[in-house]
Symmetry: C2
Subunit: 219 residues, 2 copies
């Protein structure tokens, strides 16, 4: 088997993505380009060049929120996908409460999803955290309700995927984040997922930590 160098594959992949964007007549803004390209790299889906939305100055504010901050994910898949070296360099931590037995119990008792119960628990402990929702629209809806009530997360990554309540949850989240000046990155429409949430986080972490992405093919 020939030797394969991840850094070369990464460069070649990004060149193919840039070519694909040009072929579609798409020019990405300098501020948001790295995030969009990493999501395309993770999904091989150029739709994300069109459906990702960034509130004004979201990327710079994300870097501030991530440095020494806390990331809350709505799935253990997204948690597993976040670059450990980049987090270590920035001194930040990532948590997911979805599999905690007390969350399952709270959800049962109050008739909400575990995802919503997780957001409620996280918001009480980490009101300024970076919230990354890649799976459950109910998590994004609960987070949006909190923002409407006064919560001010450091960043909202809203990329749940699916066919029921998903598009609506993102539209309401975008409106609330704009209204209350909460930095947000959202994948409008049905698409998204835990890999998309992790890709957005990693692109931001690599930039904030001034790292290239040597392990991007290896996670």
């Amino acid at each position: 088997m020939e030797r394969i160098r991840p850094a070369e594959i990464e460069r070649e992949s990004m060149a193919i993505i840039e070519h694909g964007l040009r072929a579609r007549g798409i020019t990405l803004p300098a501020e948001t380009g790295a995030v969009v390209k990493r999501v395309i790299h993770t999904t091989a889906d150029f739709d994300y060049a069109e459906n990702l939305r960034f509130t004004q100055d979201a990327v710079r504010q994300a870097h501030t929120a991530l440095a020494g901050g806390t990331i809350i994910t709505d799935s253990n898949m997204a948690l597993a996908g976040i670059s450990r070296p980049a987090m270590q360099k920035l001194g930040c931590e990532a948590l997911c409460f979805m599999a905690e037995p007390f969350i399952a119990q709270a959800a049962r008792e109050r008739g909400v999803t575990r995802a919503a119960a997780s957001v409620e628990h996280a918001a009480s402990l980490y009101p300024r955290a970076v919230y990354a929702v890649g799976n459950a629209p109910t998590a994004l809806l609960r987070l949006t309700e909190y923002i409407e009530e006064g919560l001010r997360p450091g960043l909202v990554i809203g990329v749940p995927v699916g066919f029921v309540n998903v598009t609506e949850s993102k539209e309401r989240a975008l409106a609330a984040c704009i209204k209350y000046a909460v930095p947000a990155i959202l994948a409008m429409g049905r698409k998204g997922g835990s890999t998309v949430a992790a890709a957005i986080l990693n692109a931001l972490l690599y930039q904030a930590a001034d790292l290239t992405a040597p392990e991007s093919r290896l996670g």
Copy 2:
């Protein structure tokens, strides 16, 4: 916040997916339909109705391989996405060696990716396992080389994602699996990912364990 019932959302999602398939003139075979629909459910991407390939009788053989069997994934994200209740019911285990320090060392010493080193390690211990590759084409290539040399996994799930060596790795894997009668499910082309690998595994596990998918929105 209104009460949300995951089982209802699941049914509604599947009805929307079935409507979307009909609107595209696609009729899925009975054997493979549940897997394809779960992948679309996980990605909101109807491309998977066209790019998923199943070797003959792959789904039935997958059920046999999963019962009491071992699943090897090429990422901790895919590992985190597999339904624990379904695995428990079937008495199977899932493992990922990617983050093991001895894998990093082996990869460095021999100039291969960690993904390839993980496959080599797994093949020596679990030659009949279900191999799920959602991330690294080098893992699928190494697995294919082993199959060409005589390895007979219980099932190959080949859905790495990306722009370099990905399409080729799947074409070579498909040819080898057909030639040597290894059951395989592959996403041809560039698309795939850890969430796709986990969705395929979960669809197969739910069928084999005779479970509905109550936690599908909650993982």
